[in-house]
Symmetry: C2
Subunit: 275 residues, 2 copies
């Protein structure tokens, strides 16, 4: 079983496409955790306990652990050990947004796939396939490539208009279309790629679904960034009623009632399933 199947099995088992972001910024933790020996770990264990029944995937953004130096990295590792031991069927994503030249990526792979034991990592596409090939070669793991990101200024580069000329015709495409085509047609030889497609760009999501067939999208931008679950479900589901990992972090983990917020978002996803 590769990791995409792991995600699909979990999503079908609990009838949810929800990914909870353990973006456990120390500054934002409830006071009762801040004085503990392992504040980020203990907060994560609490959140995991509250939300796991609604959760098909956990995404941990590396930045919030790196901010606390080696102590943060240690708690990231301890969190992963906790998840792998207690919830081995939940898909895990390190949102690290990495990508270096080939040789250097091997060290990132050691850290993210082997030492930390994540199922998936997010990657920048700018250096091209040749650079990230060591990630793609890991058939047991998933490479999630940034395609159309959720931020307001995403279009500055991603919406640039590209000309593709051949003897027969000239085509004009956006950069995100080219990334979607390349990743789905060329980078995905091992069937272990996904794409990042922001909930804030539903029209683009619809086109990326057409381009990429059954590929799975990691979808940030619900909640604080105001993307709509209905629009995401309408434009992003694949033909199997899967193909989406719908992410929410702040709106759940720093709410007054994480369990209730996770339940509500999961219910919303279920409501629109099959549209």
């Amino acid at each position: 079983m590769n990791s995409i199947e792991k995600y699909n099995q979990r999503a079908e088992k609990i009838n949810s496409l929800l990914c909870v972001g353990l973006d456990s910024d120390f500054e934002k933790l409830p006071e009762r955790f801040k004085s503990l020996e392992f504040p980020q770990l203990e907060f994560n264990k609490w959140i995991i306990g509250e939300v796991h029944e609604y959760t098909a995937a956990f995404k941990l953004n590396s930045a919030f652990y790196e901010a606390r130096g080696d102590r943060g990295i240690k708690e990231l590792k301890m969190t992963m050990e906790y998840i792998v031991k207690n919830h081995p069927d939940i898909f895990t994503i390190m949102d690290a947004k990495r990508a270096d030249i080939g040789n250097t990526n091997k060290s990132y792979i050691s850290a993210i796939f082997d030492w930390l034991d994540f199922d998936a990592v997010t990657l920048h596409p700018y250096l091209g396939q040749e650079a990230v090939q060591p990630f793609l070669d890991r058939k047991d793991k998933v490479s999630i490539v940034l395609c159309k990101t959720s931020n307001k200024g995403a279009g500055e580069l991603q919406d640039l208009e590209i000309v593709q000329s051949s003897t027969l015709h000239t085509l004009h495409k956006k950069l995100w279309q080219i990334v979607a085509e390349k990743v789905s047609k060329e980078w995905n030889k091992n069937n272990n790629c996904m794409l990042v497609v922001g909930a804030t760009y539903p029209e683009e999501m619809k086109k990326i679904r057409e381009i990429s067939g059954e590929m799975t999208f990691l979808v940030p931008g619900i909640g604080a960034q105001e993307g709509s679950v209905e629009e995401v479900m309408k434009n992003g589901l694949n033909s199997e009623g899967l193909g989406l990992i719908i992410h929410s972090a702040r709106g759940i983990i720093f709410s007054d009632n994480p369990k209730e917020e996770a339940r509500k978002l999961c219910e919303e996803i279920r409501k629109f399933k099959g549209i």
Copy 2:
């Protein structure tokens, strides 16, 4: 004094544009270091002692420290403390190739600029200026944006042809040209940006020099990747005989005689200065 001036002062003081990469991959360390309590730190201290007189900048690639988990991050921190204490005038670059959405970047900034105290960081451009603005807002630090990278497959995205249409005319440009224009004209309001331009693409370097005025380039690709110092100096120097940070890692730090290799590369740079 902002950090670009720090680099320029050091480069002029020792008449060198050499940047030594402390890419201290544990697997490649000489055996005598591997059994020490802090193998990467001790190796770095040895290399720094050997090469510092020829060195205008040190670049540390995060991947090689992350590969050893929290222990590696601790040794990265100890290495930075050692450099800041003993060689405070040498410019320091964390080659982390980061970039996330705005809010998340603040945590990377805490880690890289504040906790580790690097002068500069490398960034992917794909998310756009709005996303990396928190980095750009740090006037005391330098953001080095990937423009034309040194790897063989760099062109897959970077050489895509972009159309820019206005009422007057239609222009065709490569993606790397757009990045060079945007960073030099729009992102660089605080005069604290640099560009990554690979030594393996001298023609592109020449054009990026024309586009970007006096901006400084971080230049990987000398040595193992076969870029030529002569070509880099001919195409990349700015009008002040500066504007280049010429990087070498493996060819120096894992050679039989790091001091001699650093001296030779520094001499080669001096030879072509003023061409």
